[in-house]
């Protein structure tokens, strides 16, 4: 590590801190929205809502089979052509939500489908309506089962935010590329980039592991 330029690192570290805030901001709201999309879509798939179900399936295919960068370009450069102009941040958040929504949907759907039919029937026989059955019985159990998948999605989506530099947002990736371009301090810039992502991702990863362990212990199985 001797050969690294420590002056450079101390000088530009605050830039990374700023950029990290943006990365976290985009990731946080994008993932939150993605989760909401996932909850709604997985419920619609679970209940096999006609028409809507086909639309969601098409959305999942589209979202999973196009690169996030292309989705962002579409939002940032394409939509203004039809009069919709969004800020870079908004596009980034919506882009993450669009991509993450399909992953969350698939994860939650398989969670929902793994719940034994008898749970729904015994809830029904107690007089619970569809909504209460979902809210009180099916969803909480499906969530617990889906925790590992959701955590994996969260980490995946945080990493995916690195492409928002493509629409000129000054996130971590952008700052690193910028510094390399300006000063050719490739090693320093990339080292700081890796460390910044680790600082964001390690706590998430640790929380994920703890959650998974807790869920396994709670493992209410029969």
């Amino acid at each position: 590590m001797k050969y690294l330029d420590w002056n450079f690192i101390t000088k530009y570290a605050p830039l990374y801190a700023e950029a990290a805030k943006l990365t976290v901001f985009i990731a946080f709201w994008g993932i939150l929205l993605a989760f909401a999309v996932g909850v709604i879509c997985s419920a619609a798939l679970y209940y096999k809502v006609p028409v809507l179900r086909r639309i969601i399936q098409a959305y999942i295919e589209l979202s999973r089979n196009t690169p996030l960068l292309v989705q962002l370009f579409f939002l940032y450069f394409g939509l203004p052509n039809i009069g919709i102009v969004w800020s870079g941040e908004t596009c980034a958040i919506i882009g993450i939500a669009f991509l993450g929504g399909s992953y969350m949907t698939e994860t939650l759907r398989s969670g929902l489908e793994s719940i034994d039919k008898i749970q729904e029937e015994s809830a029904a026989s107690l007089g619970l309506n569809k909504w209460l059955t979902m809210k009180e019985i099916i969803f909480p159990q499906a969530m617990a089962i889906s925790v590992p998948g959701i955590c994996a999605n969260v980490i995946f989506l945080i990493k995916e935010t690195s492409v928002v530099s493509g629409i000129a947002l000054a996130d971590l990736m952008y700052v690193a590329k910028d510094l390399i371009g300006l000063y050719y301090k490739t090693d320093e810039s990339l080292t700081m980039l890796v460390i910044a992502y680790l600082i964001i991702l390690l706590p998430v990863s640790i929380i994920a592991t703890l959650l998974e362990r807790r869920m396994r212990h709670a493992g209410f199985g029969n």
Partner: protein, 251 residues
Amino acid sequence: MAQQNHNMLEVSGLKKRFGDDIVLDGVDLTVSRGEVVVILGSSGCGKSTLLRCINGLESVDEGSIRIDGEEVAVGSRSLTRLRQKIGMVFQSYDLFPHKNILDNITLAPVKVQKRSKQEARAQAEQLLRRVGLWEKRKAYPRELSGGQKQRVAIVRALCLNPEIMLFDEVTAALDPEMVREVLDVMLELAQGGMTMLIVTHEMQFARAVADRIVFLDEGKVLENLPAEEFFENPRTQRAKDFLQTFEFKKQ
């Protein structure tokens, strides 16, 4: 037994198909208030399907089912209200694994019947004490034995103050030494005047608990007799053969 205008349960001309299979083929059955009826029949004859139809878990192809004079119609708004009059306990343990025992029991009284938490808890306590499981109220279903789970399932159904209880082979999945504790609870319920429709393969229990036996075969009611009469003097050969399979004689 109080005289009422209508029976607690009235099934008439009930037909149910699964694809081309006709599983219930014109079933007529009435259960009056306070009566305990046991349904017997070999595996696959349609006992579970009958109970599931009564509880609105399966739609009906022909015929009608009335609870306390009111038609059970799948998908109708009245169904959730009607179901509160029907308590059902299934063969497989169907407690909610993510809720503790007390929450399993008070969920529907509070969320569906809109009763106060305290009042629901008070009733749950009284019922749990009756089946000897009050000290397990904070436990989760996975921490209970099969017999304990089924007793909780019975309590959970009872806590809605149903007017009729349906039991579908509730001891069939239990280890033999746990069967008794569950049957005792059911026997006590019956003696307390609860209207009950029971599917079981426990012949001695059936004989002890039943006022009347309905013998089902290939989706049809073959016999519908007072319990003693059925066991002593079944009318059909099918019923005789069926009872025979439960007898052990020294060769």
